[in-house]
Symmetry: C2
Subunit: 327 residues, 2 copies
């Protein structure tokens, strides 16, 4: 059955892709073999991150990007990262509502990722989902992440190019810098650009980017270093305005990733991404192996019968004394 599933995913069969995604979410037996079998066939997709704070309109913009890439004849996958919600017993379907215009299009695959709360669980799940969609022949994979925080910086590392969506009047400088978005953006989009303050917000962003450049140690004149300077675009995603320009900017970034400086950048990202995935998988295995001992130690820790590092030492010693069993 596993081999059949692998074959069906490689043929791009939507139901097989959905089944593979469920296996990842549920950590079912067989998921390890599945991912490993698909891995050799992945690595071709264009991975684009779309991120920004709630209310910036990034779901609408993501839906718009799907339409743009579909018009270019590309098969598109969308992975939307949502916090799991006890209210609904899982990921909330907001993105799906916004994506409705793409339902029924067999060349678009949309998946909401529940984060499940486990440390590294999101990285692992996301990277595995990317492997599946990539191997299934989706040429563009859009990764939409919620919120602005460490989380997002982490998730941003999976994509080759990251679009940061901001809205006009995003708040004062301190807030903008604090959110850490300046560092992860390859392309900025001021969305809802028909609202007041869009030009000012775009200008402020550009000024902050300039400051960042000036502060960096590089003394090379701009344009000769081969570095990428994130453009600041404007859009009204609701009516697709500005989206062709965004696709063009992403194309330029993709081309830059093939230049000498860009190649180094892309390689560093791939390396970091691989390290993160491996680390998450190792942590997952450690947790599986230690299982009840970890819970028991935590109980004693919570009662202050143990100290944290002593407990961790004991657990890791327990781990080193054991062989891992096959999943």
């Amino acid at each position: 059955m596993a081999q059949e599933l692998v074959a069906a995913v490689l043929c791009g069969e939507e139901r097989a892709v959905a089944q593979a995604c469920r296996l990842i979410d549920d950590r079912r037996p067989g998921v390890r073999e599945l991912i490993d079998a698909l891995y050799a066939h992945a690595g071709r997709a264009r991975l684009i991150g779309v991120t920004g704070s709630p209310g910036s309109g990034k779901s609408t913009l993501t839906a718009g990007l799907v339409a743009q890439y579909r018009a270019l004849g590309q098969r598109v996958g969308v992975l939307a990262v949502d916090p799991s919600s006890p209210f609904t017993g899982g990921a909330i379907l907001g993105d799906r509502v916004r994506m409705q215009r793409h339902f029924g299009d067999a060349s678009v695959f949309i998946r909401s990722l529940a984060t499940r709360g486990a440390q590294g669980g999101l990285s692992r799940s996301l990277e595995e989902h990317v492997v599946v969609l990539d191997a299934a022949g989706y040429e563009v994979i859009l990764i939409e992440t919620v919120g602005v925080g460490q989380d997002e910086l982490d998730v941003g590392g999976v994509a080759e190019s990251t679009v940061v969506v901001v809205q006009p009047d995003m708040g004062d400088d301190v807030q903008a810098a604090k959110s850490g978005i300046l560092e992860i953006a390859d392309v900025f989009v001021v969305n809802k650009a028909d609202r007041a303050g869009a030009d000012r917000t775009a200008l402020e962003l550009e000024q902050r980017l300039e400051l960042g450049r000036a502060a960096s140690l590089s003394s090379e004149p701009s344009g000769t270093s081969g570095a990428w300077y994130p453009p600041v675009l404007k859009s009204v995603a609701l009516n697709d305005s500005g989206l062709p320009e965004l696709v063009a900017a992403l194309g330029r970034h993709r081309a830059w990733l093939d230049t000498p400086v860009g190649l180094g950048h892309a390689e560093a990202r791939r390396q970091a991404s691989a390290e993160r995935l491996l680390f998450a998988l190792i942590c997952e295995r450690a947790q599986l192996i230690l299982g009840s001992e970890l819970k028991r130690a935590a109980e004693r820790l919570a009662k202050r019968e143990l100290t944290p590092h002593r407990a961790a030492d004991e657990l890791i010693e327990l781990l080193s004394g054991r062989k891992i069993s096959a999943s």
Copy 2:
């Protein structure tokens, strides 16, 4: 020296506390012994989380809460969780700017935590900082977290009581639900309540909370189940308006944590928090032990010479064959 530092922290000496925090950030030798030694003296502080999206004014509100608790004669610690920024080479000082009014007050200790990007690194660092401040006798510890996302949900678990700060007109329902804030809040505050839409936002929040209650399986009539119903307050943190009421609501939540239902809730949180800390410490040890092998495997993975789960199996086998060396 380590013992001297422990003693000085226990006496609440500010310089010693700061030194201990630096040891945690830099993962210096001795940090394990330090945390373990302080752990027995921790567990008394009142841990309050303050979270909300950028621009909601939660830093201002946190500063206001400091003033409120100071007026009650309490020593207050503040831990602000910021994403690390390559622009500044570390945590951004925005919070500190906003906290300025408390500089020079020896009974207030403020610390910005850089997240450093490592998986679980934030949980570990945060929990260790809490141990230090708690052992140093800060009676109230305010944990301010950036953004809304998985991250925050995670961090929220460290606090006994979590305040979620929202601003008027926080966007449509879908966004509000998506951000996952309804589930983590023990108290809601609509800040900037002098702006238009504050009443509507408060009402919407209350309605969503009602819906959530109705959707939950509990058939007990409201008020008899002993459950906590998060109140929705309003504030203008800039002029301290609404903050005494917030402190009162937090007091009621603290009292509820001592009721039968509340106790179970508090215990579950402590257990989850201990598990998270232990898991993070185990992952940290695994990473230390595997070090260069992890990097090498990631390199081969990035070049697709390996598959992820096969590589992880090999690494965990390597780990189980090794003894951990003392830090």
